[in-house]
Symmetry: C2
Subunit: 153 residues, 2 copies
Amino acid sequence: MKAFQDHYPENLAHCYGCGRLNTHGHQIKTHWDGEETVTHFTPESYHTAVPGFTYGGLIASLIDCHSTGTAAAAMYRAQGREMDTLPPFRFVTGSLKVDFLKPTPLAATLEIRGRVKEIKGRKVIVETTVLAGGVATVRGEVVAVQMPENFGA
Amino acid sequence: MKAFQDHYPENLAHCYGCGRLNTHGHQIKTHWDGEETVTHFTPESYHTAVPGFTYGGLIASLIDCHSTGTAAAAMYRAQGREMDTLPPFRFVTGSLKVDFLKPTPLAATLEIRGRVKEIKGRKVIVETTVLAGGVATVRGEVVAVQMPENFGA
């Protein structure tokens, strides 16, 4: 099954966190799991904070891209559209909040789970939790904003 | 002049964002500039979000490590101690909040500026701004917490 990110239009598929065309990047893949969204990601050995634990900046990055992907998928779902229909929805991050609940071991594949809290106009608020070995270690909230047509102009 | 990160004890110098011993990492270097702290960082061409703009997860990472470094330096300064005196202060991130004010161009060397908002017991709150070409594009706030002796135990 294609991941959310496999549907991103080519010009928007270069993101370091989630772009399938960024060969240096993380290339995360997110899917629906019922009402939640899920990404699995295995950090590299050098993605370390204090030795033995996962770098917080990487975790923030995973939360960010997982959440913007979730926002896009949720908007398609809310409109009863498949993700490969046009026009494409693509979201950027308005704000990112990350609470580090406890250290995240580096050994494990991380599970990143998202839940849509609210869809309001062009904004989607996503709550995302990072779990290591089934234990929630980090909680994030992203306000994702539908990318304006004139982004960066 | 040595940067804050050059004073981190060896076992705490492996962080992907700021550890001088992490050869894969960003190895950021932060210094005092009066009452503020400053880091300069040039993203790689592949640190892209939408083409032409800097990846938000990288920016969050820079804010994170810049702010924990600032927290440590501020605690030494508050106690009238040099950063190479013992025992070492080292901070971890309790929470990280990032507001993306506008897209951050990828072409430029970024300037990351921190300001200590509050020192309260073992916590230091740092407000950090990211500037590209002199324009503030991202604002962050980090609650940094002095690393417990039993971190990760």
